[in-house]
């Protein structure tokens, strides 16, 4: 049964990945990427990695793909313009493709020791086991991850943020602290005689 489920999700994954690079519409392509993330999450689930499977959906589908969609949708990409650059980028793309292919080949043919999923009692939470090692044995990689996130945050702001000198916005604390005396002046005037 598990075997059947595995092949079912694998086929969906391969199909989605194929469609991802073959469809014309970039938004459709992004949605196929979402589908392939879902299928991979299901395969991870079959490996009993429930925390990682749902974290994959949470982070990749819920956050990364939202940014992708933002970029793809709003950049208003013209399909013919991309075609024009095809020949120009071909050599670089081929090089990258070959490197990836070689890397994958190395992994497949290097006879790595087979990894078996850790079999555990049904009531032991996967998340708990992860937590027990992540913040003790793997504490240095964990802190390095924080540094990488910090660098990412600073870089994103440095790259995208254009300081706006003309920007107008209210300071809410000023708005709240305004007193009546600052705004209103009561003037006493003699009543005009009626004639």
């Amino acid at each position: 049964m598990i075997k059947f489920t595995f092949y079912f999700f694998s086929i969906i994954l391969i199909f989605a990945a194929m469609r991802l690079i073959t469809v014309r519409n970039p938004v459709h392509a992004a949605l196929f990427l979402v589908l392939s993330f879902f299928s991979s999450a299901s395969i991870w689930l079959l490996l009993h990695a429930e925390f990682l499977a749902i974290a994959l959906i949470l982070v990749y589908v819920g956050a990364v793909m939202v940014l992708f969609l933002f970029v793809v949708m709003m950049l208003d990409i013209n399909v013919t313009m991309i075609r024009d650059g095809f020949a120009r980028y071909m050599p670089v793309a081929t090089l990258v493709g070959v490197v990836i292919l070689v890397e994958m080949g190395l992994v497949i043919f290097s006879h790595l020791p087979e990894v078996q999923p850790v079999v555990m009692a049904a009531d032991v939470s996967n998340t708990k086991m992860l937590g027990q090692v992540l913040y003790t044995i793997y504490v240095y990689p964990f802190e390095i991850a924080a540094v990488i996130l910090l660098v990412a945050m600073v870089a994103a702001i440095a790259l995208t943020h254009i300081p706006r000198t003309r920007m107008k916005y209210q300071t809410p604390s000023h708005q709240v602290n305004v007193r009546r005396q600052d705004r209103v002046r009561l003037v006493k005037m003699p009543t005009e005689p009626k004639d």
Binding site: T127, F142, V147, L149, M153
Partner: protein, 118 residues
């Protein structure tokens, strides 16, 4: 463990099915009288003269990028929160350093004005 996820899979299928059946019912039962004016995109009284998909402010992208970073941070916090009852001062300090680093980033974006909206 896996048997707990069978209901989830079924639930997702059922909700997708309901979501698809309802519009299908609407397509079957509702009339179809296409009309050039009716099918044009909503615009206040004049013809749309350009494609609606336009470039927009870079700050929306920035929000999405910052969201990814904070979302990852939350994903890192969850296993920590689960084990913390059985953990000691070491895990507390480990997380304190983690949060401190991200707070530095947060203060940076605040001071840079990345969180300002007009």
């Amino acid at each position: 463990m896996l048997e707990n996820y069978v209901p989830i899979a079924l639930f997702i299928i059922v909700s997708l099915a309901i979501g698809l059946i309802m519009p299908t019912l609407g397509f079957i039962l509702g009339p179809r009288k296409p009309d050039e004016e009716k099918n044009s995109p909503y615009e206040c009284g004049f013809e749309a003269f350009e494609d609606a998909r336009m470039k927009f402010d870079v700050r929306y992208y920035l929000v999405a990028i910052l969201f990814i970073i904070f979302d990852l941070e939350i994903a890192f916090l969850f296993p920590w929160a689960v084990i913390f009852k059985d953990a000691g001062i070491f895990e507390f300090v480990a997380m304190l350093i983690f949060l401190l680093l991200l707070t530095i980033g947060f203060i940076y974006e605040w001071k840079k004005g990345a969180l300002e909206w007009e």
